[in-house]
Symmetry: C2
Subunit: 380 residues, 2 copies
Amino acid sequence: MPQGFSAFITNLGIRDTTDDFVFIKSSVPCVADGVFTQSLFAGPSVTISRNHLKDSQAQGIVVISKNANVANGSVGIADAQEVLQLVATETGIAAHNIVIASTGVIGRRYPIEKIRAGLLGLGKNLTPADFHAAARGIMTTDTVPKLATRQIGNAKLVGIAKGVGMIEPNMATLLTFFFTDAAISANSLRSIFRSTIDKTFNCLSVDTDTSTSDSAVILANGIAGEVSEADFASALQEVAQELVLKIAKDAEGATKIIEVTVDSAINYAQAKTVAKAIVNSPLVKTAVYGADPNWGRVAMAIGKCENEQQINPEIVVIRFDNVKVYPNSLTDENLEQLRQIMSKDQVNIHVSLNIGEASATVWGCDLSEGYIEINGKYST
Amino acid sequence: MPQGFSAFITNLGIRDTTDDFVFIKSSVPCVADGVFTQSLFAGPSVTISRNHLKDSQAQGIVVISKNANVANGSVGIADAQEVLQLVATETGIAAHNIVIASTGVIGRRYPIEKIRAGLLGLGKNLTPADFHAAARGIMTTDTVPKLATRQIGNAKLVGIAKGVGMIEPNMATLLTFFFTDAAISANSLRSIFRSTIDKTFNCLSVDTDTSTSDSAVILANGIAGEVSEADFASALQEVAQELVLKIAKDAEGATKIIEVTVDSAINYAQAKTVAKAIVNSPLVKTAVYGADPNWGRVAMAIGKCENEQQINPEIVVIRFDNVKVYPNSLTDENLEQLRQIMSKDQVNIHVSLNIGEASATVWGCDLSEGYIEINGKYST
């Protein structure tokens, strides 16, 4: 694990008895970056953190889970500021060098009395950061903690993430945090971080519902010294990719990962639009769930991209793994092969538009009764 | 029922033993109009019918259910043309005066031998149109036939529709057909029909999946003579509205209708964008299903409309029926009221943006295990 990070992880009684408060501190100031939800209803955690990261510096991250502190008006803003001030007083770190994130039910106020009581003595109770416990402490309806690590020269990189529903990140994602002891400049960190998030978390969708609280933050404290930027970028890409697959696998009610690749598109945006239309289609998702070889729904989903008028259905090719399903009718043997492919833990759909050179890959999951079960009674 | 329409409704063995072929004929040529799916993967039924209605004239409509004849390449086009030619030969109506629609599984060829055999003698077997039987004959996974009628002066108007999934109409809808014996000019019919469809069927969504086969067609044979255009427009609006609610009620797995009204928007497009984001959110739909008073998901869905930057969350008001849920926290009594509202057969969500004068109303349904059950095994 990266050097120089300590933590305070506890249950404050926000909703139940599992850990719901995570604070991670670096022993020295860090180069930092963050990307956040584009939601118009973004809460104070997002607006405050966006502001605190403008100088590319931070030394600590607070995460409160089980309550999003969103749509609570000026009281919600005051509550978020009070939490940061409590942590600042306890640790001696300036509040503007602390990032805050919050996730859970929308429209309920923090139990602020419990938080005040629970944070007393935080400064004296920091221990070397247990990132596995942190990954667990930020969970809401997640069933497993999500963590990935890579070595970069002498440095280490660890990423943690949570999120299994309300997932259609845009410019950011659910909650995910990366910690490294590598030394890297603020400009390089920003450029590598944003490009990585765009090709990983922003290519993930569980249910098309963009959260109000999506936050992705990285802290680099530099303790392990400089590393190759190329190595850093590829380690970050691998860690982010691994977290994305863990999220897709643990998505609410999901039984299978769906990976959709669209190639030979005019440009990346077109490839991603088509891939997202497929991975987000409830009819494609339910067919995958039932291992029903109803490949025509992929054609339907491509057809929905009405603004992509360069697409010509006559030259589109659709494959599941290596089985071509369109054009030309399937034999009974093909249908049986397709059923077997759709019964796997990961179903790969591949579409060639044959009009350009660009490609995109996105990830999602099937749609099962489990999603309904979880989301029909979440707030109660 | 309107005068001058006869029909041939039968089972051709397309998929099972229920009626799957409907032909409705007017005794005289009709003024006609149609609007169709914008899908890039629209099938030959759509492309041929769009072409046949360019002259605003038609005398008959063929509907094949349980097979969409989509994504079948040139064979699919030839099959559709053969069906029209068989009907033309049997009835003496020119093929270009017949409209065709088809609905069901995508990517399977018609059982053309069965169709050839089944249509022999069609011309001699026409009987006065039983529109209830026609509404039943166009069903796929529908559980009830959908029909609505109105009187307009001396004339009658009847509309039928099918569709319970793959429903996010855009410029047209699923399959819906209107028949009237009113006399009306082609220009008036076109203008009234398109505006009506836009405010009714195009405001309906079951699952965000736009069908490849959406078709809405109206035939006016003029036998009952002229009527007031205002009366005609309002009757058509009422019939279309009634069919839309019947579709939302019978939507795959649906247990409740969701009606979303957004008012005081900058313009109609903005109001509709926000209303659609709410009615299409899987998290709003599952909360309604579970009668879970998790109103924050409506705020989340509004927040997703990232391109509508004029929206200011601080002045937005969200209501369920007459209970205000945002801004200001709910009391326990409010929450209990909200739970009761969300337990009704129809849940009405009302959002005021308070930045303009425009409003829009859209309709959808909740999302239950039934949708998963139906769509996990549809093709098999």
